[in-house]
Symmetry: C2
């Protein structure tokens, strides 16, 4: 008998049929003698519908009210799921983020979890209930309703698994695990059986969409085992857990790609100390995550500074950069949205050389120009033209022999 | 400068356009120097949609989960209304029942308000905000989310007006006030300028749909003036307030009708003391509101007991009656859903005779048979065949000269 946290994303509870199927699986898990705590997202397109309504009534969307609006979504899915469980004679009770004791700061629309006080969840478990907890939401120390931002439900699940000392946190989604590359681009991509936290962090941070980055960070910090799997096939998926000493590390585990970033370039900036710092401080002040940064010194003592930011922040980042440009002494600010990042990720590459060389050779062999490069001990990322991204992913996947065998 | 509680029902905030119109009117009220507290229902058909979803996923609907589900509705409407107010540069903040301090018992789906702790609402007012409060919902003493049942939003508004000592509680709806009869049946029905609490109570209890009975009871107990009016025309509506001594009381203020009840008859019950009591005790135990009761003694010492209950409770009431029948010593239980109740209501009738006679004469003149009668000091109700209801209302409205003049 184990304590299992099961998280079901929006596609898993898309409609009434899906909710019934999920309820049956929860009932099955429970019937095997396990204690189950469920975390659920809003149904399929619910969040999009609510955002559309918000756009229809107003161009102004105060964060506090957006949080109030969007948290309606999980209320609907979780109460419906409890009803479907009741029909199967499984006692279930839904809990809002607030009721589940998920205490956050008051940064509306992207709050951080500060603490979990799972008293009511523990009591419900003790009473034989399946607690069904709203993902994505919490209550702030100022008693305001908050949401955790993108990937918030995964974070709720991992945080609850930590607080409850659950044996495993199962993340159910519409794919059967983490793959060596996006199967829509690479038909023979292979499902990975296990990954360590660092690899999964790099995958999540570099375009892998299966798990939210924050939830992986949380799991790593608290050593929570995650099992990512499909709520359609229910087959075993991918385990994300602490690296085991005797586990042979793959040189390369996955090729990821990301087309969600744009490149900004400030040209002909005088090459003096502290110049770049002032720019990136101002971007940080606006909560913009700068990813890759490249600075090319030219012979005249001027430099071009290029960096990438999420496309959703491009407008703001451009404004900040243009504002700072006179102080920088730069000439102009250029924006480029037609870029893509391909990354090679593998825990084994930190001890084995040659991955960088093969990556560059492979892209060169495809006649793909590398515009920016960034690396970590277990990752190499290259910024390329967006139109070349599929070709690059296919070529790299083949070059590192990641395809499914058999 | 006044403190005004404005309640907007589902039809008033039906869609994005209506929400914007309501926001403009709130902004106007505020710009005149008033403090405004808004109570809002779920948008138009939202509640029906959520109930449909519940039916789709399960035949079992635990009250706790229904409350969780349905309270999503006001979260959506109130946050959208706050956004629309923000667009008009009116600072607004939404509050759930819990946040507004609406403390209830834990009778899910039909909770009663025990207390209001409006600290956060008062603080928001003090800070210059328009608090927008979710109608229909509260938090129980056991920290469970509850709903107040039918007409709950009206009750929220009146209860808040009481707690905040508001100058007036304006109930906005899709009709322009309380009429002498349903204008869909009586085209020349007249809008009433003012009614006292007792009259409004009788109207609400006997088929008038404009205000929920509970909210009128609450207003009467706490002497809150209600102004029922239209959110489409914004014209002055009907005031419901304490009877003023110098106010000349209308003999008859309104004719109402109600087709929401059904008649149950237990036949040939021995005419002994205590027999009926045991039946009505058991019905009360099931929370069934019995309205009219008639007992006809026959020559053989047996009696037929007839009574009316809401059609929604008919099934349960029939089961209870059938169960009790052997103890009653009765013969059979009959149900009849094709009945209607017409009522004549007027504060003046308690001092002036003749109303009963004219009522009976009018119905007799239409060849309408009266099956049951019940009266109060300011009301006469007659149960008739359902198909005769429109004819009866028209005839009574004309007989008591209630039509609009001019």
């Amino acid at each position: 008998m184990a304590l299992i946290v099961q998280k079901y994303g929006g596609t898993s509870v898309n409609d009434d049929e899906r909710i019934k199927i999920v309820a049956e699986y929860i009932a099955l898990t429970k019937s095997k003698g396990n204690d189950v705590v469920v975390v659920v997202s809003a149904m399929g397109k619910q969040t999009d519908q609510l955002i559309r309504l918000a756009n229809d009534v107003s161009t102004v969307h105060p964060g506090r009210e957006m949080d109030m609006l969007l948290t309606a979504g999980e209320r609907i899915s979780m109460s419906l799921l409890c009803m479907a469980l009741s029909e199967l004679n499984v006692q279930a009770a839904s809990f809002t983020g607030s009721q589940a004791g998920i205490i956050t700061d008051t940064v509306h629309t992207k709050a951080s979890i500060l603490e979990i006080k799972p008293d009511r969840i523990l009591k419900a478990l003790n009473d034989g209930f399946v607690p069904v907890v709203a993902g994505f939401q919490g209550m702030s120390v100022e008693k305001e309703i908050t949401t955790l931002g993108r990937g918030g439900s995964d974070t709720t699940a991992v945080a609850l698994a930590t607080a409850l000392q659950a044996d495993v946190c199962e993340i159910y989604t519409d794919v059967s695990g983490v793959f060596t590359a996006d199967p829509r681009i690479v038909p023979n991509a292979r499902k990975l059986t296990a990954l360590d936290y660092d690899e999964m962090l790099e995958i999540a941070a570099n375009g892998g969409k299966v798990l939210a980055l924050r939830s992986v960070e949380f799991a790593r910090r608290h050593n929570v085992s995650i099992h990512v799997r499909s709520s359609y096939t229910w087959e075993p998926g991918t385990w994300i857990k602490k690296e085991e000493k005797d586990m042979e590390e793959a040189l390369v585990s996955a090729v990821t790609h990301d087309i969600s970033e744009a490149k900004i370039t400030a040209t002909k900036v005088p090459d003096k100390p502290g110049i770049a710092a002032s720019l990136f401080r101002k971007l940080a002040d606006k909560s913009i995550n700068v990813d890759m940064i490249v600075q090319n010194t030219s012979v005249e003592g001027n430099t071009d500074i290029s960096f990438t930011v999420p496309k959703t922040d491009l407008e703001t980042a451009l404004n900040v950069t243009r504002e700072v440009l006179p102080q920088l002494g730069g000439t102009e600010v250029l924006a480029d949205s037609d870029v893509a990042k391909v990354s090679i990720i593998g825990a084994g590459m930190k001890t084995q050389p040659g991955v960088t060389a093969l990556t560059f050779e492979t892209l060169a062999g495809c006649d793909i120009n590398i515009e920016m490069i960034s690396t970590s001990p277990i990752r190499i990322s290259c910024l390329i033209r967006k139109e070349a991204v599929e070709q690059a992913v296919l070529a790299l996947h083949a070059a590192f022999n990641l395809e499914a065998t058999g």
